[in-house]
Symmetry: C2
Subunit: 887 residues, 2 copies
């Protein structure tokens, strides 16, 4: 026999799968003796059964009856009793908080008769009539699906006729009139009167909560928050308490610590003579919690005691909803409180200092994502500002610029050096050019998986999307904030992609104090102190080493400051740009091997200098250097642009022989799919001397650094290997260079030769490759591209938004590793490699090396290190430790 | 104790791993009592040991001594005995025949003393001196590594001074003079005299044979023929017999049947008074074997008996080398004879008819490769022609055209409708344009893995490469055949890529009789009869079904004639070309969903007609139709070309708004890597209605065909699926269309919905996809591209030749499936798919479906069918059966 319904006394906070978050915590508070209005919870099992079958499961009605009877017995009242009615609230409560997404019906049990009894019992006729009016309104819209507008119109008409602005201005008679109007709306719209049977009210309210799980709004929210579709919601039936019974009553919301900063001391809002709904709706101004001490010192003291009790019990900061009914405190909800990233670090360390949790637990309570948020530049906290609109925090970072409404303007203004924010209703691939040059993107439509959001995250641009209060008028080049000002093209706005806030005018942007700390400025910030202690403990806890991807001495030095234990990926192709393009041109247009060799010979000393600087910055730490990877034509002008230039030059009689020569080379080298062309190890095998020139430069630089007393540990990495044969050929050449340089320089240079695993075939045949490789570094960017068969450049804008909307993947596989597909190759290759070569050193150097979920996977499959951008190194240090703890 | 040396009497024909092909067959002939000059074989084990250590393995010298003593005892002579010398030949003999690749030393045992004894014993002083002269020459070049030129010069000088043209014109005294000259060459070049110790001669000759395994020529040959590097060669030491002891002596080479046509009756050449080397060298004209009957009826009869004995013993056509020494027949070599494809089929069926083998064995003896060769058009066998040069058969097919020497000319001439053959020393990517338009390619350098060969095979062009007797002069636009005529630009030549032959002038090309047979013209050709019987038996034997890739009713009909059991791949993108491009343009430039839908609505009836024709051609057989796969911009003009056109039009003031509109669309759709972009199922998900329009067209056509009394079995295939989520979304849409059409038309249309497995991720997650797929079809072209991370278009010319040369792969993975890498994914996916869905139908529709080695793999992993081009269907039928037999 399945049990569908549980009394609050039967549950506990661990049971949020079954009872939902709200129900589990009501049970927990009941069981530790806090004053909770009695009630019971209908389980998520019941909801799932209902949604599957389309009707309430057998037995549910009986169980509700039984629990209702107990509740009635406990309260000494009967539901809807015409003499002394029990009223109940019916509230949704899923496992994950889905604020405002699902439905609630209050005051269930009122009807034409019991409303009179309530008036008598409470001695407050207005309260009784208003409660009935609220029930009719909530029942009408929630249970019967009528448009809220119908009830609002009746209310507005009444206010107009009574010439009052506020519903507090309506008298008891007025409200009685409204009850009649609302009942008439229900009758005329549904063809049936409002049910007078309290049990019918209750049952239909429960079903309405079940049904609310599948509203489009809720479905969208879950998709965006990556909440499973099949969880269902629980329903909490609870005796009503009233905060609106006069001056000795009231409702409030509070946190046991400040959720914005994490600072100690309670924090909350209280509204006298009001229900909880009124506090949230912001109808009247709330007062601070401290004012309650003056209004009702007893309840205040009791509340403080409850809060202390809750913190000690939950061992975390809690948020609380409470109601005081005629001087008596009732707890309506609690949960571990949401908090800002800064508060998360501060609270965690304060709890440690208060002896409540240990450092490991502190580590579990902060996330790499939170740390990353703290490292973005933000708006100067001391600057004055007003949030004029709020959208979704789609891609973090603070951005300031002139509003522009189309890509052409964005590009034109950006080219003349202006910062612009691209504002659109929503973006499409046509807007890409504008997004590339903009500081930030602001849209009125679309969620975290919209085109704007996906592309902005991919490009690292700030983005606020789905800002519904904006009316964007592209034709008029302006947007209006609903009920507020209009912003025209060229007006400066500021957006915070980390919070979703939109501001008018320019707000000064400041570096994060956490970044200043890593850059060597300790400061005396309490946040910095907390972060540094957490990260230090993370370093003691983690198994994974963290390296950085850095191509220049500057980047390498920064990586070291951020705590990198070496370089996991130094790309050498960046060293072929700028003034050196001319040499690459020579290499590419070379007509024979001798000309190629001459070009390479000129590149050698330049490359050597590059590497020397990096070894200096990374003295004593390993440096993994990837031999050149991209196709050579990437260093030449764009094929189409040059084709047009040459055609026009010829047309104008201004033929350029250099252009013709380059175009001939580009025509020869032109590839349909450069990602799948002559690059990586293939280039090294086809162009004799290219890889050996680089290896020589690396080893000569290392020799020079070592000769000067330094220590250098180069790890030479061969890119795009698909087969052990390719690697063997290159390895043999590199070993020869290694012997030569060490002999010429008379110095030992300990160095490794390994390979990227970034092609599916390399992963599949890793066991063979490992026989001769010293290390593997998983190139998860390319591995993702090849495994899925799509290139990031081509697909992120073209169809990722559609894919995310369809739930084909919950997050871009370029942001977070696709563990099922790509991860399977990584796991297989790591195991196969280690089996034949137990000393094989394993790392990852794709962008996933800095992604929290991916880091946990890399820890689980036993890699030795992750490598990520210098800026992500602290995040990776933190998450590597959390991975170790949660393993 | 390892044994290194085996007497001929100790071995058998099964031991060619150990004794090499020659040694094993000498042993076999010895043991069945045929007259073989006695001798022994040094095993391949000894060779490998020698090559590994760089010196003869311990014990080898002693074993040689022992076997030599037995041989001397049997012959009653001692090696190099000054009175009555035994002479021996030292010949290489690897497992696989490597004609002309390795070394031989004859007449070992002659020295200044024994040569006199030989003269006495043989009564032929000239023979003795000539034999000594030959030993010095072979020893000098083979063992001592001297240039052959040095000996040739001494010979030429002597002939000049004696004024004779032929060495038969040299007297015994002349030859004695030459012996002195040769000894002087050896002394002056090596600083040491020719060794007079016969045993030293023998040991060094053996080592020389061992060393010849690793000459660059031999290494290259093995790489091209895909012979393993580590086999090593055996060495055969055998008592010399002399075919040059006057008119009652002679040597010959013969086959037990005609190796060109397979017709019954012996076939061979005989040269009186000559050694075997002379027959092969073609110094004098041989006579037909029938002439031997006249010259030496006893030996002739004995030889015929031996040949019959050999055929019955080997149960196959054999080729034989023999020598008659003064009327006594000696067998020097036999092996299963090489034969043309036509002979292979005819001999196999004749052996069946003669009751020697069964049909299964006949199947084992012919290959799909041979059948494919028989299906290419060839030169009219009745036409007169002379082979003027012979190169490597790099890519089959007969081609006729005007010789051109550069791509510009090739393109210009081809554009005016002329057939051209591109002639180059070797080709590079710069020659691609010319290769595309040429009927065939002829080069003087490079082997079967050269750029020309690889690219020509990829493009299906005839190619003869490495034709060393051509002197190609690109600047002068001509080539000269060494010792023959000069061919100028514009002269017509004919090349046969299947044989490597080059002819002057135009030779008429005729269809293959085998193709005429499949096309419905049975003919009375003995070859056609043999092929049809073999293929018929193959159909009874094979487990794999064979389908065809066909996009049009014509192709479908042809596929059916060639024996296809259905269509495994009908590409629908071909249906968007031609006049329909305008509709695709509308679809692409559509500004909203309605415009898109209107364009799709216009395509629907056109597509329906397409499918109706195919169902008609394939009445009663399954037709797998792939929904549109390529990116839409492939149907629009080339981006670069249009950019140039628009720039020039604007420059000239002739702006075209249509061009501008198209360019805007192309700019939007432009992809860096179209192969990795918006295509396949992604397109179907992003453009609503595209796939459902196609599915509707398919099912409406099927309904129409069924309503008319036909039967249609459409299998709708979704391309480029990477995840089960993608497939599920499309499947749901297709199922809806299926229900609608069947309801609208009031007819049941049995149909399947399945997916290509062509991305690594699809293979990895095949177990999930199989839950909702009716079938998988492995798209091994794309799967190869993604697994290796290269695209065929971009790499075949750019680096495959280098890769093949380096042995990174033995054959292009686009020609023959990479079993280790790509095959591993196929195997895993097939197993995972079947595990969750035992009824899952599995096929392959990449080009590998027609490749013999790949077919064997597909049979082994349990696929249900392969699908290939109609032309390859008979090949696949044959190889599927051979796979079943050889499993």
């Amino acid at each position: 026999m399945v049990t569908w319904v549980y009394d609050f006394a039967e549950g506990s906070k661990e049971q949020n799968d079954l009872l939902g978050g709200k129900g589990a915590n009501l049970a927990e508070m009941t069981n530790i003796g806090l004053p909770v209005p009695p009630g019971f919870t209908i389980s998520t099992d019941a909801c799932r059964a209902y949604l599957e079958e389309g009707s309430a499961p057998p037995g549910l009605a009986d169980e509700i009856s039984e629990h209702l009877r107990s509740l009635e017995d406990a309260m000494g009242r009967r539901l809807g009793d015409p003499d002394d009615p029990l009223l109940v609230s019916v509230r949704s409560g899923a496992k994950n908080s889905m604020p405002g997404m699902m439905d609630t019906v209050l005051n269930v049990g009122l009807n034409d008769a019991s409303v009179e009894a309530l008036a008598r019992q409470s001695g407050d006729e207005r309260l009784a009539t208003d409660s009935y009016r609220r029930l009719l309104q909530m029942y009408g819209s929630t249970v019967l699906g009528l448009e809220a507008r119908m009830f609002d119109e009746a209310m507005d008409e009444l206010k107009r006729s009574r010439d009052v602005k506020d519903d507090l201005g309506l008298t008891s008679d007025d409200l009685r009139h409204l009850v009649t109007s609302y009942q008439e709306v229900i009758r005329s719209e549904t063809g049936k009167p409002f049910p007078q049977d309290p049990r019918e009210q209750l049952d239909r309210a429960v079903q309405a909560v079940f049904d609310s799980w599948n509203t489009p709004r809720a479905v969208l929210y879950r998709r965006q928050e990556r909440i499973a579709e099949d969880l269902g919601t629980a329903v909490n039936i609870q005796a009503m308490v009233f905060g609106n019974l006069g001056a000795t009553s009231g409702s409030g919301v509070c946190f046991t610590r400040d959720p914005a900063t994490g600072s100690q001391g309670v924090y909350g809002d209280y509204l006298a003579n009001a229900q909880g709904e009124d506090v949230v709706a912001g109808i009247r101004n709330t007062v601070a919690l401290t004012d309650l001490e003056r209004l009702d010192p007893t309840s205040h003291a009791e509340l403080l005691a409850v809060m202390e009790r809750l913190e000690l019990h939950y061992l975390d900061m809690c948020d609380i909803e409470f109601t005081i009914e005629r001087g008596r405190l009732w707890m309506l909800q609690t949960r571990v409180g949401k908090r800002t990233p800064a508060a998360a670090f501060r609270i965690a360390m304060d709890f440690v200092d208060e002896g409540l949790i240990d450092m490991d637990e502190a580590l579990r309570r902060v996330t790499g994502h939170q740390l990353a948020q703290l490292m973005f530049p933000g708006f100067d906290p001391s600057a004055e500002r007003t949030v004029v609109a709020r959208g979704m925090s789609a891609s973090p970072g603070a951005a300031v610029g002139k509003a522009v409404f189309d890509s052409d303007t964005a590009v034109a203004w950006a080219e003349r050096g202006e910062d612009v924010i691209l504002v659109r209703k929503e973006t499409t691939p046509d807007d890409l050019r504008g997004m590339v040059v903009a500081r930030g993107i602001l849209t009125s439509r679309g969620g975290k998986t919209s085109h704007a959001a996906v592309v902005a995250r991919g490009m690292g641009r700030s983005c606020v999307c789905g800002t519904e209060s904006l009316d964007v008028d592209i034709a008029a080049k302006q947007f209006t904030i609903r009920g507020g000002p209009t912003v025209h093209e060229g007006d400066v706005i500021s957006i915070d992609g980390g919070t979703g806030e939109v501001f008018l005018g320019k707000i000064p942007v400041v570096d994060s104090s956490v970044v200043r700390f890593f850059e060597g400025d300790p400061g005396d910030d309490v946040l910095v102190n907390a972060v540094s202690r957490v990260v230090e403990h993370a370093d003691d806890t983690r198994r994974l080493a963290v390296r950085a991807n850095a191509d220049t001495p500057d980047d390498a030095a920064r990586a070291r400051r951020y705590g990198a234990a070496g370089i996991g990926l130094c790309r050498t192709e960046h060293m072929f740009l700028g003034e050196r393009r001319a040499l690459v041109e020579e290499l590419v247009v070379a007509s024979d091997v001798d000309e190629q060799a001459a070009a390479l010979q000129q590149l050698l000393p330049l490359q050597r200098e590059d590497f020397l600087g990096i070894f200096e910055a990374m003295d004593g730490l390993p440096v993994t250097i990837r031999l050149i990877d991209p196709p050579l034509h990437e260093f030449l002008p764009d094929f189409t642009e040059l084709s047009v230039t040459v055609a026009l030059e010829d047309e104008r009689g201004a033929t350029s022989s250099r252009h013709h020569r380059l175009l001939a080379a580009l025509t020869r080298l032109h590839e349909q799919n450069p990602m799948l062309g002559l690059r990586g190890v293939r280039l090294g095998i086809v162009i004799p001397g290219l890889f050996t020139m680089q290896a020589r430069a690396i080893l000569e630089a290392a020799a020079e650094w070592v000769a000067g007393g330094g220590s250098a540990f180069p790890e030479i990495m061969v890119p795009l290997v698909a087969s052990t044969e390719e690697f063997a050929i290159v390895r043999a050449e590199l070993e020869k260079v290694g012997r030569e340089v060490q002999e010429e320089r008379g110095v030992q240079i300990p160095h490794l030769v390994g390979t990227m695993i970034e092609l599916p075939r390399a992963a599949i045949t890793a066991g063979q490759i490992a026989e001769s490789a010293d290390f593997f570094s998983f190139g998860t960017n390319d591995l993702t591209q090849m495994t899925w068969g799509f290139s990031r450049d081509d697909v992120e804008a073209a169809f990722f938004p559609t894919y995310l909307d369809h739930g084909i993947f919950p997050v871009s596989p370029f942001e977070s590793l696709d563990i099922e597909g790509v991860g399977s190759l990584v796991r297989t290759a790591a195991a196969a490699g280690r089996e034949v070569n137990p000393g094989l050193h394993l790392g990852v150097c794709g962008e996933h090396g800095g992604d929290p979920a991916s880091i946990h996977f890399f820890d689980a499959v036993g890699l030795d290190y992750v490598s990520c951008s210098p800026f992500r190194v602290p995040v990776a240090r933190l998450e590597a430790a959390r991975a170790a703890l949660m393993q």
